[in-house]
Symmetry: C2
Subunit: 429 residues, 2 copies
């Protein structure tokens, strides 16, 4: 508030903190919520262009992260996930343009009717407001999440992993400058990386400032966010995924689907971790499925019955059943019947994806009805649980909770709804 | 697992605890999830009949609660909310029959398509599993929530207020016996009332056992549950509700709607708490609106400008703006323009319902677009924010959060979805 004495009053300095940044995002979210779809597309194209134009800066910052990572002895696989080069930055910019091309979920009328007294009710999609993301390692998540949040009319507060902190700092600066150049408040993209642990803590307790928090990363990161947050969280990702080979399982489907689900990309959440084989099918299918897996370099962790059929298998431990290996390791177990398979899944599944290979209609129906997971399949690879494969065009993550969103999340899952009621003086009788 | 020696092994005694009850509910939820709609209707009718048949027991238990409440000096209003008599029990049984008559949300196909490779995708409504409810005072919530949870295929774990503990104990016993008589596991309805505070704590931390937790009661109860829970919560109810009288506000609509919104039922969350009047309308509308309110026994808390127009008004305090009075108290304030009204609402609204009285299309559009609440109205009483009024047939509560459900919640909001994928050997390329 300005007064006549404004110039001679020492202005109160607001200290920069996670809270002031979240507050700035909240304030900016009023603007992003009202952007037209065209306005959002322009902002995203500005970001995509700025990423390409800023490649040199981004790569220089990334090189510092890589050097620090190498000095700290993080593994080659992690270093590779951390690395940004011209080609990856171009792919990142293209991904932003793809998000810009998606239909805008905001403003869609999803329901409504006229009340008996004439009041017109309408339920419309609106942005959440401020989306928070806490994530690890890969710096491209910084850009992905910001683009998805903006496309759906939200402001975003980011907290990336410390391994990528120099890269993330530059990526955020480039995106903020691009927003400003497109006439949108740069405050719509915030990072709290520079506050370390305190930044994440402030987000998890940012009631009224963060409308929804999406953790992306390891099971322990997700567990921490879910347990500690007082703001609503969408739990994503952890996948201890099962395939059941039923008595009637065709051998070729069993082999092709298990190999595809394990080998095609072992480091992702929809890769299979455990194969349960009905005893009546074990002798018929296990040797050939195992041979195909071993030929692809898979280490099979088998129970005693599996090891009798597959001499190359190593012994399973109790821990194996609950482990998301993210590697070419696969647990296999023989079960007496479908009941035992379902009980195993109830105990160890993270509720992500399970698939049965079977030609028995009753077994398939029972499996689809009784397995309590986000995606339940028959005769298809678990690798299909994916926003792109489901036709959403982009993926915010895969929700393993039941509230709000379940399974692959698209742009609509980054929105809420509100009810509009238009009357002409109506009162309640 | 039974063995040949089962009979001579001393069975391990599982100690009764909140956890064992939640676990029993989880187990029973597999059965309730698979009940046909007809099966659920039969179970609910059995409950309704049992409530009527058990009236004498229920009233006797309730009398003990009332006597204890009176001895502890709880107020007449609370005692009245606690009271159950033949008529109220009959109304409760009727409410259960009404819930039974609602369409079953479970099994509804809400989306789906065929993937390019032929895999058939289908998104279907499924029960959450176990719904938890933590609530206060009125024992009828015990029956309402149990009926709504069961109708949507869920098991339920209840934690009622200590003031109603004897009534709740009998109500739960009657409902559990009725379930058993209808051939449904009585474990589908659980209470943890007898564990006191530990029961509520166990529910709030019941990850994997409670799928969603619904708090109903005071703002402080809701705040505790939201802050402490590690399971997903749907935040309901608290309503600091605003009405804005625009410059163009018709006098009769202003008077009728404000009086209706405050007086018709002051103790509920959709009753108005604050009226903001644009300065340009104040002299024209405030005296008559205030006179109508005063005639109904309302105490007006006014700022200085209101008090100049309404000598009978008492002075507002800063606290008033943030208070849900639940009584015939109303705060009134004069604001310079719509911006100032919107800023006031941003600061003090709980995101429940706000309404503008106006004939100015631009002002109405701006209000509907910019107010970030579950229900935003023009020219209608805020009392319409109600599951019954919205045509849902029953109301689980009114969500003031943005995740999963926003505004009045019906049966569908007690369900989640899952994806079913049916293939013929497809693998991912």
């Amino acid at each position: 508030m300005s007064t006549a004495f404004a110039e001679i009053v020492v202005p109160s300095v607001v200290e920069d903190s996670p809270e002031t940044r979240m507050r700035a995002a909240k304030e900016a979210s009023r603007e992003t919520a009202r952007l037209t779809s065209d306005g959002k597309v322009r902002a995203l194209h500005a970001i995509a262009d700025a990423l390409t134009a800023g490649s040199a800066d981004i790569i220089a910052a990334n090189a510092r992260d890589l050097a620090r990572g190498a000095a700290e002895g993080i593994g080659d696989a992690l270093l590779d996930r951390l690395r940004l080069d011209e080609k990856r930055i171009a792919a990142l910019a293209d991904a932003v343009r793809e998000v810009a091309a998606l239909p805008d979920p905001v403003g869609r009328v999803v329901g409504g009717h006229r009340m008996p007294n004439g009041v017109a009710l309408e339920q419309v999609r609106v942005p959440f407001g401020v989306v928070g993301a806490i994530y690890e390692a890969r710096p491209n998540v910084t850009v992905d999440i910001a683009a998805l949040a903006l496309r759906s009319g939200n402001a975003v507060v980011l907290r990336g992993g410390s391994a990528a902190r120099e890269s993330n700092t530059v990526l955020v600066r480039v995106m903020r400058d691009a927003l400003a150049s497109a006439g949108v408040s740069s405050e719509a993209i915030q990072t709290v990386d520079d506050f370390g642990r305190a930044g994440a803590t402030a987000m998890m307790h940012g009631r009224g400032l963060i409308d929804v928090l999406v953790p992306r990363g390891s099971a322990s990161l997700i567990e921490t966010v879910v347990t500690e947050s007082t703001v609503p969280v969408i739990e994503t990702g952890a996948g201890v995924v099962h395939i059941v080979l039923d008595e009637s399982a065709p051998l070729d489907w069993s082999r092709d689907i298990v190999v595809n689900a394990k080998v095609q990309r072992p480091s992702v959440c929809n890769a299979v971790e455990t194969v349960l084989v009905l005893r009546a099918a074990a002798q018929r299918v296990v040797p050939e499925v195992a041979a195909a897996l071993l030929a692809q370099g898979v280490t099979i962790h088998g129970d005693e019955e599996i090891r009798r059929l597959v001499p190359a298998a190593v012994a399973t431990t109790d821990e194996d059943w609950a482990t998301e290996h993210m590697s070419l390791d696969l647990s296999m177990r023989v079960v007496g019947d479908l009941d035992e398979a379902l009980a195993h899944i109830r105990r160890y599944s993270t509720g992500h994806t399970e698939s049965i290979i079977s030609t028995d209609a009753l077994a398939i129906d029972r499996f689809l009805a009784e397995v309590d997971s986000a995606v339940v399949m028959a005769n298809a690879s678990t690798r299909f649980t994916d926003g792109g494969e489901f036709g959403f065009g982009a993926e915010v993550g895969i929700s393993t909770q039941k509230l709000h969103a379940r399974g692959p999340m698209g742009l609509a899952e980054l929105t809420s709804t509100k009810w509009l009621a238009r009357g002409a003086g109506q009162t309640r009788a």
